[in-house]
Structure formats: C-alpha cells, structure tokens
Symmetry: C2
Subunit: 204 residues, 2 copies
C-alpha cells in the first residue's frame, strides 16, 4: 500500500548525495539510497526513474521558470535579452545551494553516464526555450539559435558562478557571459570598414 | 584469425542502412549486419563499438577536418569566422551524400538512443573546437561560446541543407545561418540609441 511520505524527494536526494560522497557514485545502489532515507525502493521509483535522475531533480522546475520568463517578457525585448533575463531569474533557485552544486558538478564531470544525462537535459531545455521563442513569433532557425546561445551562456555562467571566489550571484555571471557572447559573435565589420578607409587614404 | 577485409567499414555501413530500412532499426542485430556485409561479428566490433556507432562513422573525420581548419585559419580572422569557415570546408564531405544524410537524420530523430549518441558526438566536437580556439589564444569562456555557437550554426545549416529544394551546398547554408546568428545576437544598442534620441527631441 502506498503511503504518503513527507519530503520524500528531498530525503532521497540527501541520502543519495551522502552515499555518493562516502562510497562513490558507482558503488551506491538505489536500495541503499532508499534505506538511508527510511523509504522503500518502490517509493524511490515513484520519484526517480533511476539512480542518475536523483541528480537532475531540479530540471523540470528550471525549465518551467525559464520558459515562463521568456513567454512573459515584454514584446519589445530582443529575444536573446529575454532568454538571458530568464536565466538571470533562476539565480534564487541556486543561491543557497552553491556547495551542493559544486559537489554535484564534480560528480557529473567524473561519470560519463551523468554527463550524458546532463546533455539530454540541456537539449530538452533548449527545445523548450526554442518553443517559447517560436510562440513569440521567431522563425525556427532563429528561435533555435537564440535558445542554444542562451544555454551556452547559462552553462558558462554557471561554471563561473561555481568557482567565483567573490561569491557574486548567478545573475551577475549570466550578464557578464552574455556580454562576452555579444563580443565574440559581433561581425568584424567595424574593423574592416576602418581598414578599408585606411587603405583608401593610402592609395589616394 | 583476423583477415583484412577491403572496405569493411563501408560494407558494414551499407548493410546496416539496408537492414534498418527493411526491418527497422530496433529489429536489426549486429549479427545480421555482419552477415549481410559478408563479414563476421568480430570484424564488426573491430570497426564499431555497437550498433548505434555505425551511424556515426564519419564523426572523427569531421572533427579532424574542422579542428584542422580552425588551427590553420589566419591569425587576423575573427574566431567565429574561423569556425564558420571550418564548417563551410566540410561541405564536400556531405555533398554527394544528401539522400543518405536524410535517411540517417530520420532514423536519429525516431530513436532516443540515437539522439543521445548524436548529442555526445556534438559535445565532443564542441570540446575539440574549444581546444583549437584556446590554442589560438582565446580564453576558456570565449573559446567555449564560439565553439558552441559554431556547433549551433552547423546543426541548423545542416537541417536546412537536408531540406533545400534548390540543392545549394552546405557552405551556402553555413554562411546564411552565421548571418542569422549575428543578427539575433547583436546588441540592441543601435535601436536604443535611436529611441533615446527621439525621446530627447520630443522633450526638448
């Protein structure tokens, strides 16, 4: 008989992280995670499809927040600014969880199967953001390009946030990385025009 | 005893695609692929780690070509232009293979396990391009952003190329998508400046 367990998802996540830390990710079983949380394996599988999934518990909430913010952005906001602002808005989700996020990141980097799952979650997030942008009237290619640029900004901002000795929030890093993206994708037109002008003067 | 088999990789790819077409991807086994190619399963596994991998046979060659072109670009070429030109240079790899590429794409889209493998290959390509850009002196974040923008351009250009009724080559589509990316990532500064100027005039 299924019983309702208060905070089951959080208890399972905490138990899993504790075990991964003590025994290593590979040597931890779902059975052990459930036991440490004082729950059954059946309850575990009501919340997570497998052991990996415990580390991606926040993915759906993140997607909802980001796509909601994109959909709600004012019509005159440029698409990339809408997406960057949506990722800025996720900062409070992470703010109190920097130590957890660091530990999680190290685990993901050390296990190819977790990296795979992360790629799939990011691709799903990109698809959801693309859809939100299409609803704002953007064409398929442009919506995809902006969404993927947004994911790239988020990823790099997140890495910088994890390592930031000054402990600035994620929103700060999203803005900084957006500005770097704009710098590196800008057409080198200004430079070319300047060069052409110089050449014209020298041949005149 | 291992025998050298001429064109074993190509024969296995062709056999696999034929079987996927006739019986479906899921119902085809490695044993059947090897048999149709007139080869043994052992030979199959000398070329491919599993059934999925047959559809990603060109990934290494693609990576080598792209990273080589990025490394070889003139020092004064902007990083994103170097990466886009590198992807333009892959056009001849695909030119004669549009029907195959279309069939392959449909298979990938229909099978989550193939989509996963595709994500992993694209992430590996992004990592390799990031490394080439770092060797050109770009910082970690910028190298990553440019590489990921390059992959996004390549992906969307490839989709357009697959569907192009006018049969323009991949290089054409890479240039067109690069230009769209620049359009959607450009800072809305010009617009803002114009709006401010209007406001200033109207309040004067």
């Amino acid at each position: 008989m299924a019983r309702w367990e208060p905070n089951a998802s959080e208890r399972l996540q905490e138990a899993a992280l504790g075990l991964f830390r003590e025994r290593g990710y590979d040597r931890t079983t779902v059975e052990e995670i459930a036991a440490r949380a004082g729950l059954t394996e059946r309850t575990f599988f009501r919340y997570f499809s497998d052991k990996r999934e415990v580390l991606f518990a926040g993915a759906k909430a993140l997607e909802k927040l980001v796509t909601g913010a994109v959909a709600g952005a004012a019509a005159n906001v440029a698409p990339l600014d809408a997406v960057a602002a949506a990722f800025e808005a996720t900062a409070p989700l992470f703010e109190t969880r920097r130590p957890y996020a660091r530990e999680r990141q190290a685990l993901v980097l050390a296990h190819p199967e977790l990296q795979e799952r992360e790629l799939i979650k990011l691709a799903a997030l990109a698809a959801a953001v693309t859809e939100s942008l299409e609803k704002r009237g953007l064409g398929k290619t442009r919506a995809g390009l902006v969404a993927e640029a947004g994911i790239a900004i988020f990823k790099h901002a997140f890495e910088r946030w994890l390592d930031d000795a000054k402990k600035r929030d994620l929103a700060h890093h999203v803005r900084a990385v957006l500005s770097e993206l704009r710098h590196v994708t800008a057409a080198p037109a200004a430079r070319t025009t300047a060069r052409r002008a110089t050449r014209r003067r020298s041949t005149a």
